[in-house]
């Protein structure tokens, strides 16, 4: 399972979809790059989880997300 497949599986989860990203109607057309453009804070969080970052960069990204 590659990153995009994992992403699509997460996006398609009905409970997460309903609560955190109701605006996404077609999860199967999404990929990691489209997440970067999103203004949705949860999708930004998801991008940090899925993108290839080391622990420090990831922690910084997370702090930035809260500010």
């Amino acid at each position: 399972m590659n990153i995009d497949e994992i992403l699509r599986k997460i996006l398609a989860n009905p409970e997460l979809n309903k609560r955190y990203w109701p605006e996404i109607k077609n999860p199967e057309s999404q990929n990691l790059n489209t997440l970067i453009m999103s203004q949705n804070v949860y999708l930004k969080y998801l991008h940090i989880v899925l993108s290839d970052q080391n622990d420090n960069t990831r922690n910084n990204s997370l702090s930035n997300l809260l500010n």
Binding site: Y45, L46, R58, S63, N67
Partner: protein
């Protein structure tokens, strides 16, 4: 990138005496089968690959068990060619070496030839052989132009077979069971490395880490905002402490406890068989001990019976001594009786004055026989004396009628006091005799009872001994030394530990639930607090982090379940393909068990089961060998393009029948997806030193396949201790 081993060259490596160019095996990129009889050098060839790839060799110890060894002071004498070793003089050196040439095809289809060499310098030092550290070399061969390559040896050897997959691509048939893992951490690592679940695992871990991180960040924000309000601050501190307590302490304790439970479970599984045998043995021993105990008890009772008998004989107060005395009294009484009778008869005679001396004599004679009055009356009627047979005269008839008959009817002396007293004495005597008999009888009964007890106990002891002998005959004799108490104790301890830790686990889970409840209550009391937008946002993201983590865990579980189910189908297909037409395996199949342990890690176990699901682990033999091969090729197939390493196997069919063996080689010839180097003796006739019937048939098939090859290793006729490598079919 596919890798193809072009050739391997050996220098003074075990039986391969001489330099590299004297001991060269060249391979095709398809299936290569190397055939030889025992002890010519098959395993040594396999060890050459293993040494290059893993730094280890497989050696057999004194008990014929295989173990992975380094080449060091202890083992070098075995590995350096023995002729060379024996010829070495003090301080002289010799080289052990393996050189491997392989072709690497990159994604663009370009090929590189690499040559890697690994050597050891051995030196004779008085009575021993010392050995240097390995000297390694990496070269590139570009269109015949050989030059040193920039890559390190470690980097390049990893290209041949990746280190963490070597147990699946470099296998030794006879030790498959020990060296190729089919459960536990090693199998999990292999699976993770073989398939792309690895990516999901990593991201799942990241989501767990991030959920924890966001909680810490939210706590920091909360702490900073609450510093103005003491009560709120104390609540927040309590809440944060609780969270940390739950997350970092109890959960970690739960993981530890689960690990202890898993470890106990592992020990329970490992020792179950031995412990059951020991328990059974102990049970048998207990039964034998019970028999012995009962027999001893009976013996005690018998001995005490004998003791009582002896005591009775020697103790004068006892009935037995009385019995002896009574016997004497009885004899005396009998004498008295006889005397009394004589006296009574005489007295009766004296009483009758009318009797003459002759009559008295006659009466005396009659008295002795105690004629009854009825007989005398009969004599009178017949007129004949029954004593002398003469006719009775008139005088005699009168005498008998008037004297004798009344006399014997006791009618004459009715008023004789003396005689009456005699009669009384007679009756006292009879009573005395009765008492004496009674006591005798009582004494005899008492002794008889003791004797009966002894006999009964002797019989019952004998029956117990027969039962014990039958029991031992049926179940075998068990000695204390026969019982594997260590396994039994380890098993029992593990059962106790498991139950103890399971109890701890329940306590911890209860504690966790109670802390979580407490936390919810605190959260409810602090919910009305004025919160900054930053704190609100952090809480929302925190909740999302937790939800996301849980979804990741679900996806991961599902992916592993799918993987296990796919692997089960593929390995079963392989298992069936390898064992085709063999009825023995008809009802057997491979089961891939999967679960997620408490630490969140997947656990796999691959086993062979029968049609009702029983694990056939104890069976060993062919089904296990087939299982290993089916799993290896199943995993390779499942991994698809991710792994295209050469498959190098020594004695892959060592535990199989000839039919299965032939089937396996033919199957590989048709279906192998990567290069195969299969080393075997199953196709060789040791006596004739040539291919056997199966070998001939396989060779015929090889001749029809373009990139398949068969190579034999035989001893050189000219130099007995040197081997010759021959291509049986050139491609």
């Amino acid at each position: 990138m596919a890798v193809v081993i072009k050739k391997i060259e050996l220098n003074n490596w075990f039986g391969y005496k001489g330099s590299y160019d004297e001991n060269t095996f060249e391979f095709s990129d398809g299936v290569n089968i190397i055939v030889a009889s025992n002890d010519v050098g098959k395993s040594k060839l396999h060890n050459a690959f293993r040494w290059i790839v893993s730094d280890k060799v497989i050696l057999k110890d004194k008990e014929n068990k295989y173990s992975l060894e380094d080449i060091d002071l202890n083992t070098v004498s075995e590995i350096l060619n023995h002729d060379i070793r024996n010829q070495l003089k003090n301080e002289e050196t010799a080289t052990i070496g393996v050189r491997l040439t392989f072709e690497e095809i990159d994604r663009r289809g370009d090929t590189f030839n690499r040559i890697i060499t690994k050597e050891l310098i051995c030196k004779k030092d008085v009575n021993r052989i010392t050995v240097s550290n390995p000297i390694t070399k990496v070269q590139r061969n570009e269109r015949g132009n050989i030059r040193t390559a920039p890559e390190s040896f470690e980097e390049v050897k990893n290209k041949i077979i990746r280190q963490n997959l070597k147990d699946f691509f470099l296998v030794q048939g006879e030790s498959l069971e020990h060296l190729t893992p089919l459960k536990g951490e090693s199998l999990r690592t292999t699976i993770n490395n073989l398939v792309s679940i690895n990516e999901l695992d990593k991201k799942c871990d990241t989501s767990i880490k991030m959920a924890k991180k966001i909680t810490l960040l939210r706590q920091d924000i909360e702490k900073a905002e609450d510093s103005k309000n003491a009560q709120a601050s104390s609540n927040t501190k309590r809440k944060n402490d609780l969270e940390n307590d739950i997350i970092d302490i109890i959960e970690n304790q739960l993981i530890d406890v689960q690990n202890f439970i898993d470890e106990s479970e592992r020990i329970i599984i490992k020792f179950k068989g031995q412990a059951e045998i020991a328990k059974n043995q102990k049970g048998l021993k207990q039964r034998i001990d019970d028999f012995n105990k009962k027999i001893n008890t009976k013996e005690g009772i018998i001995n005490s019976g004998y003791k009582r008998l002896v005591e009775n004989f020697i103790n004068r107060d006892f009935y037995l001594s009385k019995l002896t005395n009574d016997q004497v009294e009885k004899i005396n009484l009998n004498k008295f009786k006889s005397y009394f009778r004589d006296f009574s008869a005489l007295r009766r005679t004296e009483l009758n004055d009318a009797l003459s001396v002759e009559e008295q004599k006659m009466l005396y004679a009659l008295q002795k026989d105690q004629p009854s009055p009825q007989i005398l009356e009969q004599m009178l009627i017949e007129g004949t004396c029954y004593v002398c047979s003469n006719d009775l005269n008139e005088k005699s008839r009168i005498y008998m009628n008037e004297k004798l008959i009344p006399y014997f009817r006791n009618e004459l002396n009715k008023n004789d006091d003396e005689l009456n007293k005699y009669d009384e004495l007679n009756s006292i005597y009879l009573k005395l005799e009765g008492y004496l008999n009674k006591f005798n009888h009582f004494d005899s009964n008492y002794l008889q009872k003791i004797i009966d007890d002894i006999v009964e106990n002797e019989n019952s002891k004998r029956e117990l001994e027969f039962d014990k002998d039958d029991f031992i005959k049926e179940n075998g004799m068990v000695d204390d030394n026969d019982i594997d108490n260590i396994s039994l104790e380890t098993y029992d301890n593990a059962i106790r530990d498991k139950s103890k830790f399971s109890e701890n686990k329940i306590n911890l889970e209860n504690k966790l639930t109670s802390k979580e409840r407490e936390l919810t209550e605190i959260k409810l009391t602090t919910i009305n607090k004025e919160e900054s937008s930053k704190l609100k946002k952090s809480k929302e993201i925190e909740q999302f982090g937790i939800d996301l983590k849980n979804v990741f865990l679900e996806i991961k579980k599902e992916a592993y379940e799918n993987f296990a189910s796919d692997l089960e189908i593929i390995t079963n297909n392989k298992f069936k393909a390898f064992s085709e037409d063999n009825s023995k395996f008809k009802n057997q199949s491979i089961k891939v068990d999967f679960s997620i342990n408490h630490a969140g890690n997947p656990d796999f176990e691959i086993k062979v089961i029968d049609q009702v699901g029983n694990n056939l682990k104890q069976g060993g033999g062919a089904s296990q060998a087939l299982r290993q091969l089916a799993v290896i090729f199943g995993l390779i197939e499942k991994a698809g393009g991710n792994v295209d390493y050469p498959f190098i196997a020594d004695a892959p069919t060592s535990n199989m029948t000839h039919t299965l063996s032939e089937h396996f080689f033919n199957y590989q010839l048709k279906n192998a997806t990567t290069q195969n180097i299969l080393i075997t003796k199953e196709l060789w006739n040791d006596q004739k030193n040539t291919l056997n019937d199966i070998g001939e048939r396989i060779l015929k098939n090889i001749e029809e396949i373009e990139n398949a090859k068969m190579i034999s290793i035989v001893f050189n006729e000219n130099e007995k201790k040197k081997v010759r490598i021959e291509n049986l079919k050139n491609i």
